[in-house]
Structures are given as structure tokens and as C-alpha cells.
């Protein structure tokens, strides 16, 4: 199963402050470890929300509304993500725990979310149920 490890934004990441060399090195070492364990699928860092664009639909069925960043609700924003392929939820947690504290200063938050995958690829009942839901929603659209 796939998990996305989402690193939440902080005031520093939003202000465009570069992480310390120490943290950069630790992150690189961590990514290498994921790679050597054969579990890393992708890892990306994101620019701050200053250059972000938000598209919203304030009215159902209405036109999209486009808003330029920066956005203020820092804790809801994300600064980067890492996708891993693991065998269990516990393995994902174990890897996430080994990620270096992304920000220090008591602000670091990592969120783990399971990726929805087709039922053929998973034996996990929860994601199978989710797949049926997503598929049905997709059919309704058509």
C-alpha cells in the first residue's frame, strides 16, 4: 500500500526561509535510506504559498474563482510530500517516525495519508471500500 507523508508548512517555510544545511543533509540521508530500502516512490518539496494559486467553487455549478497566494492559514498548508510503498500502516508510521523533524522549533508536523489504490492491488478492506465509493462517484459524473 502507498502512503503519502505530508510535511506541513510553518511560518519559516511560508516566509521562504531556507532550511539549515544540517536539516538538508539529514533529509538527504533519510531519502537515501528510503531508496535503499526500496520503498521510496517520490519526494518533492514545494515553494511557499506566495506563488500558489487557489481555484475554488463558491457556488455549486458556478464558475471557478481564482485566488492568488500567499494564503494565511499556515498550518493547513503543506511544504512537501514523500510517497512510499509499504506493506502495512505500521510500516508507514515507522518510516514517518524516522523522518528528521522537518522544521525544528517545535513546529514540525508530518501527516500520513493512505493513497487510494484499485482493489486488485490491495488486500486492505478499507481501501477496497473506498475504491468502490470513488468508482461509483466517478460513474455518477458520467
Amino acid at each position: 500500500m502507498r502512503f503519502m507523508m505530508i510535511v506541513k508548512a510553518t511560518q519559516d517555510s511560508e516566509a521562504g526561509v531556507m532550511p539549515s544545511q544540517e536539516l538538508v543533509d539529514a533529509m538527504m540521508k533519510y531519502n537515501e535510506e528510503l531508496m535503499k530500502a526500496g520503498v521510496l516512490l517520490a519526494a518533492e518539496g514545494l515553494h511557499s504559498s506566495a506563488g500558489a494559486i487557489r481555484i475554488s467553487y463558491p457556488e455549486a455549478g458556478g464558475k471557478p474563482k481564482i485566488i492568488d497566494g500567499p494564503f494565511t492559514e499556515t498550518k493547513e498548508l503543506i511544504a512537501g510530500f514523500t510517497l512510499i510503498e509499504v506493506k502495512s500502516r505500521e510500516e508507514a508510521i515507522e518510516w514517518a517516525k524516522r523522518m528528521p523533524d522537518p522544521h525544528g522549533f517545535g513546529e514540525g508536523v508530518i501527516e500520513l495519508r493512505q493513497v487510494i489504490e484499485p482493489p486488485e492491488l490491495t488486500q486492505d478492506p478499507e481501501s477496497q471500500a473506498m475504491h468502490v465509493l470513488v468508482r461509483d462517484l466517478g460513474q455518477q459524473k458520467i
Binding site: 531508496m35 535503499k36 530500502a37 526500496g38 520503498v39 521510496l40 516512490l41 517520490a42 510517497l83 510503498e85 509499504v86 506493506k87 502495512s88 505500521e90 510500516e91 508510521i93 515507522e94 518510516w95 489504490e117 484499485p118 482493489p119 486488485e120 492491488l121 490491495t122 488486500q123
Partner: protein, 427 residues
């Protein structure tokens, strides 16, 4: 109770991450992978007893490694004082020093893992034994999981693993990375094991299910590990590229009810673009190593042609046919010829393909190969020779062991017999 089982699941996860490294390091000490696995298991059992009460240590991997190494050291010392009861173990005691107790350097861990995979994939073992032992020692899968993946009884797998370890001990297979002229054939054996594992998952040869994702994912994971610890080997990247791209289609290979969907009929929008991108990157790495592309890199190049085509019509069949020709030169086989025939028929028409298929149809090694009549049937159908096509599909259906594939082939046979014979001159 609930907390204990949650702790056990966490320990399972830690075991999956750490076990291969621990077993590999111990095997270097005791020079026997069976003994190494037992020692590593002892450490796991201690952890399972202690951790639910004391909590999981900050660095559980180092804890397991240190505990296991301490036990290994005890064993080595005991054997020495017991008058070298185990001659094999005593022999190496002097080569090993206590300062190695600390966490190994990254390079050392990689070397140990490499030694381990070369040992579990040693050619003295049967293909089945190599796969089972590799899944167990490098994949960290339990005997039960392996048995489940291969649809065989658990005792069969357990026996297979025990026998494999005995064979390695009896043959005194050294725990090392082969060098010189020995390296290529031994590496080929490792890659073969991973690809067998992947293929068994990708196109299950028996049972009701067309794919078994566990085996694909495990083969892919081991391939990715191998690519990091043996980056100078072009074919390692070639195999990884091949598996990544093939795995990108896993979700589109079967209908919700489990019937297979052929490559040309798959919904390309559902192909996993992330895996395709990873596959193409691995293929570039294979090419960057330099030298002539080996069989895996060539097969990956062929798969990449399909991955790049946004619609079936965009497929570069001429290039694919050329790649099959190159493949036929480095790894000639009737199966490659069969595929070359298919690609040529796509590039230049079914008659061209049929000519090659007919040329290899007497090949004894293809006698029981269901894809030969399946392909021949397909070409005949395209040429409008439906009655002959029908016979071929029926023959193919009788040869395959996969229930889903049999259904598909019988359906094609039925379609043919209901379709009118085309008004084409018979050769």
C-alpha cells in the same frame, strides 16, 4: 490486550525494515545464513517479549542488531570452548572482531545485503528454493505469506526453505559477492529470481487470480534495493525498469470480476504514470552505465515503447520489432521469436507474423506453451481464417493453467466459430 497486538504489529513493521540487514550482518559473522536467521529470530523473540512492556526503543533497528550480534558472539565463543562442535562456525571466529559491534557503515550494510542476495540466489539451489529463500530472508516475508502467495501448503514452503539452507551449508557456499568472470552469471541468477517472482505475481500460472500483487511489489522492492547497492550493473537497472513499467499496468490488467484485459485493450488513462516515469528513469540509468544493452534492458525498452504510446495506434511497432530482433541476438529463444512475430504482424500485417510463427511452431520447447496457439489463432483470425483460428484458441485454452485466461481463450474460440469465414483466398 489491544495494546499488545498493536505493539506486535509495530514490531512486525520494524522487522520488515530491519530483518534483511540484521540477517546479512550476522551471516557475515557466522558464515551460515540458516544460523544467522535463527539468531536474528532470537533477537526478535526477545523484542516481542520485552517491548510491549518497556516500550519500543528509540532506535529499534540498532537494538535488534546489537542483541542479535551479542547472541552470535556468545554462540561463536561457546563453539570455540566446546571444542569446535560446529567446525564451520569455529573456523571463522578468529576473523571476527568485537569492534564490529557498532552500527556498520552504510557501505558495509550494502555489501552484506549484496552478499546475502547472491547467497539466497545461488545456482546450487533450484529456482523454487531460490525464490522462497529470497522472499524469506531479504523480503522478510513469513513462511505463511510465501505459501499464500504461491498457493502451496505452508509445510511445503517451510521444507523448501530448510532444504535450501542445508544445501547451501553442504555445498559450503561462501558468503561473498562473486568477482571476475563469476560475477555475470551469478548476477544473472539473482535477476532471474527477482523476475520469476515478479512474473508469478504478474501473470499467475495457476489459480483463479490473474495477478498476485504481493509478489510483484516484493520483487520490485528488492530490485530497487539492488539498484542502489549495485548501481554499476546495467542489467539491474534494466530489470527494475522492466518491472516498474509492467507494474504500472497492474490495475488495468483485469476487469473488476477478474478477467484479464490485453495490453491493447487496456485503459491507458489508468496506467500508473509515476511507475512509468520511474521505469523510464531506470532505463536511462541502464543506458548510462554504457555497453551493449542486455536482455532485461532490451525488454524494458520494448515495454517503454508501449508506455510512451498514448493510444494503441501510436505504438511504434517498427521500433518494437527491431528491439525484438536485438533481443533475439543477445538472448535467442522461441518465445522471443513469437513476440517478434507479433510485433512484425502489427508493423507489416498478420501474414508476415504468421510466417514466423509457422516457422517456430514445430519447436519442441513450445509444445505446451499456450501463447503459441493463442498468437497463431489471433493472426489467423485477422486473416479471416476463422475456422483454423477457433481450433488454435481451443488448443491454447487447453494448455493454460490459469482459469481466467482459459475463459478468455474459450470466448475467443466461440467468437471465431460464430464469425463467418472471410472471403479470402487460402494460401
Amino acid at each position: 490486550m489491544r495494546e499488545a497486538s498493536s505493539a506486535h504489529r509495530t514490531i512486525d513493521a520494524i522487522w520488515r525494515i530491519e530483518s534483511a540487514k540484521i540477517i546479512a550482518a550476522l551471516a557475515r559473522m557466522v558464515r551460515d545464513i540458516g544460523v544467522a536467521e535463527d539468531l536474528a529470530h532470537d533477537a526478535l523473540v526477545i523484542a516481542l517479549e520485552k517491548w510491549p512492556e518497556t516500550g519500543i526503543p528509540d532506535n529499534p533497528g540498532a537494538w535488534l542488531m546489537a542483541t542479535a550480534k551479542r547472541r552470535a558472539l556468545d554462540l561463536l565463543r561457546r563453539n570455540q570452548t566446546l571444542g569446535r562442535k560446529y567446525e564451520e562456525l569455529g573456523r571463522v571466529t578468529n576473523d571476527w572482531h568485537e569492534e564490529e559491534f557498532g552500527a556498520g557503515l552504510d557501505g558495509e550494510v550494502a555489501d552484506d545485503l549484496l552478499r546475502l542476495i547472491f547467497t539466497t540466489c545461488h545456482p546450487v539451489l533450484s529456482a523454487e528454493a531460490r525464490v522462497a529463500l529470497t522472499l524469506r530472508l531479504l523480503g522478510g516475508l513469513t513462511t505463511e505469506e510465501i505459501a499464500h502467495a504461491y498457493l502451496v501448503p505452508e509445510p511445503t514452503v517451510a521444507q523448501r526453505i530448510v532444504r535450501a539452507k542445508k544445501t547451501l551449508s553442504a555445498a559450503r557456499v561462501p558468503f561473498e559477492v562473486p568477482e571476475g568472470a563469476e560475477l555475470k552469471p551469478r548476477l544473472a541468477s539473482v535477476l532471474e529470481v527477482l523476475y520469476l517472482m515478479f512474473n508469478e505475481g504478474y501473470s499467475a500460472t495457476g489459480g483463479d487470480h490473474w495477478i498476485r500483487p504481493v509478489l510483484c511489489m516484493e520483487a520490485l522492492r528488492l530490485g530497487r534495493i539492488l539498484a542502489e547497492i549495485a548501481p554499476q550493473e546495467s542489467e539491474v537497472h534494466g530489470l527494475v525498469a522492466l518491472m516498474e513499467i509492467q507494474a504500472s499496468r497492474l490495475a488495468t490488467r483485469v476487469t473488476p470480476t477478474g478477467e484479464p484485459i490485453l495490453l491493447m485493450d487496456q485503459n491507458r488513462g489508468l496506467w500508473d504514470q509515476l511507475l512509468i516515469r520511474r521505469g523510464l528513469a531506470a532505463l536511462r540509468r541502464a543506458e548510462e552505465v554504457g555497453g551493449m544493452l542486455g536482455p532485461y534492458a532490451l525488454q524494458a525498452s520494448i515495454t517503454a515503447c508501449h508506455a510512451r504510446a498514448r493510444t494503441p495506434e501510436e505504438t511504434d511497432w517498427v521500433r518494437i520489432a527491431a528491439l525484438y530482433e536485438a533481443l533475439a541476438m543477445v538472448a535467442p529463444s522461441p518465445v522471443v521469436e513469437l513476440n517478434r512475430a507479433v510485433s512484425l504482424s502489427m508493423a507489416f500485417g498478420p501474414a508476415v507474423g504468421l510466417e514466423i510463427v509457422d516457422a517456430i511452431s514445430a519447436e519442441p520447447s513450445l509444445k505446451a506453451y499456450h501463447l503459441l496457439p493463442s498468437v497463431r489463432g489471433d493472426l489467423l483470425a485477422k486473416l479471416g481464417r476463422t475456422a483454423e483460428a477457433c481450433e488454435e484458441f481451443k488448443r491454447a485454452a487447453s494448455l493454460t493453467g490459469n482459469a481466467q485466461e482459459k475463459t478468455l481463450l474459450l470466448k475467443r474460440a466461440a467468437d471465431c466459430s460464430s464469425a463467418p469465414e472471410a472471403d479470402l483466398p487460402r494460401p
